[in-house]
Symmetry: C2
Subunit: 394 residues, 2 copies
Amino acid sequence: MNVRDVALVGGTTTKFGVRPSTWAELAQEVGARLFREMPELRAEDVDSLFLGAAEPERFAFQSHVAPLAAEQMGLRPHRIIQRTELACASGQSAIRSAYAAIAAGLSDVAVAVGVEKMNLPSMAEANTSMACVMDRAWDGPHGATAPPFFAMVAQRHQLEYGTTEDQFAAVSEKNHRFANSNPEAQFHEKTFSREKLLRLPIVAPPLRLGDCSSMTDGAAAVVLVAADRAKKYTDTPAWIRGTGQYSDFHNLAHAGSLTEWTGLKHAAREAFGRAGVGPEAIDFAEVHDCFTVSEIIEYEMFGWCPPGQGGAFVADGQADIGGKVVVNPRGGLLGCGHPLGATGIAQAVEVYRQFARKAPPARTVPDPEWALVHNLSGSANVHSVMIYQGGSAA
Amino acid sequence: MNVRDVALVGGTTTKFGVRPSTWAELAQEVGARLFREMPELRAEDVDSLFLGAAEPERFAFQSHVAPLAAEQMGLRPHRIIQRTELACASGQSAIRSAYAAIAAGLSDVAVAVGVEKMNLPSMAEANTSMACVMDRAWDGPHGATAPPFFAMVAQRHQLEYGTTEDQFAAVSEKNHRFANSNPEAQFHEKTFSREKLLRLPIVAPPLRLGDCSSMTDGAAAVVLVAADRAKKYTDTPAWIRGTGQYSDFHNLAHAGSLTEWTGLKHAAREAFGRAGVGPEAIDFAEVHDCFTVSEIIEYEMFGWCPPGQGGAFVADGQADIGGKVVVNPRGGLLGCGHPLGATGIAQAVEVYRQFARKAPPARTVPDPEWALVHNLSGSANVHSVMIYQGGSAA
């Protein structure tokens, strides 16, 4: 048997935000929404479930979450069921697993779902849980959680390249503007101007509140199928053409340059190589803007601009509609919020919606053919990349 | 490109037991041991890492564990890195993921590793963490943790079929006897007679201490490669021929019969169908004896004996060397202990060792060709099956 092509044929997300729902209720909600929006999808056709979830054991005191999600969604996977965890990239990890299973002939119709419940009655407990994404034994005692780590990255980028706070704010302004046309986004600030962003409180210098993604509750789901089934579900599938990952280090003492993310370069090279295209082919990208500086470095590492020029690139509108590559038309992690395991799935939903011409006009990418999704996890020590091509069903 | 055959070409485990080591130290130890025992394995050849771990977030207050394991093992996965969680079946879930990735051409040489650290200074905390494998919202308040649930299963099996405590003890005696010839097993009781087992304290009636697997620290790792690379590593690979999983329910209110595990039947049918053999072909099996009654029901569900006859089957020596099928020659979860994510990997290590004629005489299966590995997770609501064939490298 040949390795099979895999199509993403639909998907949806819940409203992201501070939700009163439990973990299980978010899974139930995204399942109900998926079947409502895809009437041609029958529960009995779904043979596999791949769940991306980062820390339900801590945020929801619940493990063995894949069968819980299946039950809440009304699914009974009869071929494969599993949950994948890769911290902030857990969602893409689930999609990659579904892709491999379908390509290898182990599954025909798979649902990849991401669920995360992060807002707790005690946000001190929630924030402590977030900290265990870093190396607890070695980096934890030095206070290394995400905001101070990425603040170091931002300071270093400023030192090496002269990147300004106004350029950081340009990322946030763009992504919040896109989020305004995404009803499921956590934030809908009508006047998220750069001026306003630069007056927000500092979280870890130079990063302000608007430079940081948030603690978010939410769920998202996509449907992936073998090529010969795609037509049953959509005329506008997103074909998975390339995937790549790279793991550099864990303990921060082993990190190399803070501003040159070699792991991302490796992951991108693998994904582009498999897809047979280069960065210049990408029409739009959903990249991991957990902090504004992340997106700026990602422009550079993907090769959309030279090293150090990411700040100027975004300030010049090159990451916007009409620019070189539209980055984060969904609204990004900054605008949509970042429910860890759901983020990578929601990014893929946006890829589907853009190819299917289902995004609202204010965030519609003109005539897209190639899209890229990127997640980083932890202290940017793991990078995950997938490349999609739009096109008709086979 | 064709879907590729996948070979398991080696593996090892740490000593299982109550270990002073941390989670990270267990990963380090199994990595060092793997490279020592497989001198032909070079770190730079390993392109992917699949980690099975159930609850490091609770047991070790550490998430994002895949890159931590990679670093501790001296690996730098440049194609795929992920952790899979499926509670007690997390290890097999990692192997299945590695299999799919290699079969689909996404990886050439993958390490699947399982790590679990369960013994904590506060065992009350550890036991509470174990409870979150069940549905916390609905089953937790009723006291449904593993021992009382499987005690209900045992009581029901006794009621329906007249299964005796002596028959339960026959499972435990056999598996502890096998464990005596496994230096990595947690338990080495030289006189684990049925009489002694029947005098042990009751945990949840009718299950006594010897009927229950334990809280165990340990790690295990296997190496999986594409067919054309197998010869580089071994002359006696174990070929993965079939896989199957099935998810029935999560909330116990949705469970069907306690003694007929239809999910296991479905998973077995899928795996046997893919392998092109039936249960009668299996020479030895590593099955999930989390409790003695589990193994008895598994004989019945796999079709090695009629429903209700599992107790007589084991008491008659049919699950022993010289019987119909050798079950748990490694020593099982009862004899080896059950470090959740490591169990499924350690079972696969035993498959490799048996095919490679590397098991000590007291547990050597005569002339094996086909082997089966089974894990259940949670309240037997998910079943996972893999079928291996021994044979020479291509």
